[in-house]
């Protein structure tokens, strides 16, 4: 009789410990205690209900079915979309994961995604306050309609400031009305009777206000208008749905003496681009605009004495996330220096696209 019960795979007894015959299938991390705090810090501004991402990571039931995908995105450096290599420069507001954050997420994803006790979640910090009351809020003159049949669109709109005199912007904040579809925004200053030049600011979903360094600002001449270029993109949650958006831009003017910020544009064709500086500059931030996915983008300054100073290196940048990388400390470059951008990609077609690096500098 007993034979019938135990025939086939047999028996057991005291064993030293549970052992992974091949690789770990369990984890010591739980969602509420270990993983959620990381997601709140690094991912939650987009991966929340109603956010631009197709799934929230701020609830266990919403998160765990995505474990394999989360692991792959984190290991391949695709998410979070912060492409700057910290060996080449340090930037503010980094959303790059630390080593232990990467490990906690991957280990949890591979180890059975345990939920743990909701009570273990550390208390949420206060929501970061903004820049106070804006001096001016400009709405899109007309709402933009993302038709039911369209998944994606670029929309440009001109916003009139009606400014009777020159002002300087110390900060600017984008307020998407429909954050689930507003991916990124580029902002241009258009002086009266002129065409827009290079973008003066960029914003991607999840970012806070754009705040320039103390005493530096973007000049708005009298009668200037602003142009916004908005990238709308639906996730599968909104497929087949008609969405009308009327986002707004909040402007904060600086008081007192302000150094004007200008945008220099380094164009890179066939993998390289050089821009000679005709005067001394103080470099504040870098906005790489890649038009096709690349392996790497490297920007360096070649000083008049021939020495090279790295400015930024991106790994695996993609066009979807035109992020501005703000230098932790401004870099001063003398007249006669050259800015050089070098691109790498196994695909020659990708290299030939019109990639640019927009460099925000303050006049010295």
């Amino acid at each position: 009789m007993k034979l019938l019960v135990v025939a086939g795979a047999l028996f057991l007894a005291a064993a030293p410990s549970f052992l992974e015959a091949h690789k770990p299938t369990k984890t010591r991390f739980t969602y509420h205690r270990d993983v959620l705090p990381i997601f709140e810090r690094r991912c939650g501004s987009c991966h929340r209900e109603g956010g631009v991402a197709p799934m929230s990571l701020l609830g266990y039931k919403e998160t765990f079915p995505w474990a394999v995908s989360i692991k792959n995105q984190v290991l391949s450096l695709s998410m979070p979309p912060w492409f700057a290599d910290e060996r080449y420069g340090s930037f503010r507001h980094s959303s790059s994961l630390t080593a232990s954050e990467v490990d906690t997420i991957v280990d949890w994803c591979l180890g059975g995604t345990p939920e743990g006790e909701p009570g273990d979640a550390p208390p949420r910090g206060p929501i970061e306050s903004g820049e106070g009351e804006p001096n001016m809020v400009l709405e899109l003159p007309e709402g933009f309609l993302l038709a039911a049949s369209r998944g994606e669109a670029i929309h440009e709109a001109r916003l009139d400031t009606g400014l009777g005199r020159e002002r300087f912007l110390r900060a600017v904040a984008f307020h998407p009305e429909r954050p689930n579809v507003v991916r990124s925004v580029l902002l241009f200053v258009v002086p009266k009777d002129a065409e827009p030049g290079a973008p003066v600011a960029s914003w991607i979903a999840g970012e806070g206000a754009v705040v320039w360094a103390q005493g530096r600002g973007v000049r708005l001449p009298a009668g200037a208008s602003l142009q916004v270029r908005i990238h709308y993109k639906k996730t599968w949650l909104d497929e087949g749905r008609e969405i009308r958006d009327r986002s707004s831009v909040a402007l904060y003017f600086s008081k007192g003496k302000t150094k004007s910020i200008e945008s220099l544009v380094v164009e890179a064709r066939d993998g390289e681009g050089v821009y000679p500086l005709s005067r001394d500059v103080e470099m504040l931030s870098l906005l790489p605009r890649v038009e096709a996915p690349l392996d790497t983008l490297l920007a360096e300054a070649i000083l008049p004495d021939g020495t090279t100073r790295p400015l930024i290196r991106l790994r695996g940048p993609v066009p979807e996330w035109p992020r501005t990388y703000r230098l932790e400390e401004p870099i001063r470059l003398p007249k006669g220096s050259r800015l050089r951008v070098t691109l790498a990609s196994p695909d020659e077609g990708s290299l030939r696209a019109a990639h640019t690096l927009v460099v925000n500098v303050a006049r010295n």
């Binding site: 034979l3 019960v5 025939a7 057991l12 005291a14 064993a15 052992l19 015959a21 232990s100 490990d103």
Partner: protein, 366 residues
Amino acid sequence: MDMWFVWPALAWLDAAVVSEAGQIQAAEELIWTCPVHREETSTAEGLCVQCGRPLVRARVTLVWSCPLHALAEAEPGKCRVCGRDLYPVSQEVSFVCPMHPEVRELEPGSCPICRMALVSSTSARPHQDHNPKHGGIFFMAPDAWHHLEGTYPEDGYFRVQVYDNFSQPLSAKAFKGRVVLKEAFDPVSRETRELLAYPLLPSRDGSHLEARVPNGSLPLELAAKIQFEKDGPFERFDFVFASLSNASATDPPSALVDLVVPEDPEAVAAAIVERDRRVQELLAKGAFNEIYIPALEAKDLALALEAHLSSAADPASLGWALKELVRAAWLLDDSGDLGNREKLALAYERFEEAIVLIASSYGVAR
């Protein structure tokens, strides 16, 4: 029925269950698992990732099994049937009534119906047994369902056995494949062309796929390309045979053990460099499915260095290296399971770049 080799274990079974029940409880582990998808496990209550069912408790234990015979012994040793070395596998344990098969309990005790003492019963768990059965090299397919073992049992023959995720053999007649011995990379089209390949054909009894390969000198390097689903892709598995496969000499596989992390950051860096050396050896040997051990150990050591970041000469670079090493180690683990040399090489490139930086940060020779 295979009862004849089950029988010798039984006498020992009776004694062990009764006298060591308490010990069993202490040594085993309770986990959560899906009632349907047993490969989904968790250390805490939750829902199945695949179907959303609430997870149920399960008791898991380590046993020692024979590559060929379905034995489960408490101690390492030799198979009592064929004398092969036993290897460790994880199995699910429950306590069942000999008279009432519907009674299945997590704890030992007596049957609520007839009060007979419950006896323990084990069953295999998916993905717990990635050990070769025929002395070959064992990999998992990218679908995480199929597994396969390549053997080079005699000069001129390469064989592939296909298994499911419980490591149960599947009929080879369901699969197509070929074995590639020589290929060339064309830098213009960026494609690899096969220069010398032989078909892998099912054996008459369906127990394996087989290809005749030219008699060659060892080590033999080849790639098996197997199609698991009709119209599916041909998945690639890279094999290196240092010697002929010997079905009777299966070394018990290595496994992760508790890692001792030195206090001193220089010693940690040296330990990381030592793990890198082992990863390199395993890569060179083609022992891809063992790479996860030194790779994940190096990762855990790197995590210990995170606490020393602020005192490093160049914290930004070291910080980069630590996170790069963590990512690369997980990628090595992943691609090692799959036996894919190209993915492993890409992962190792990242691993090595991180190691070089860590070694130089602490002045450790590589």
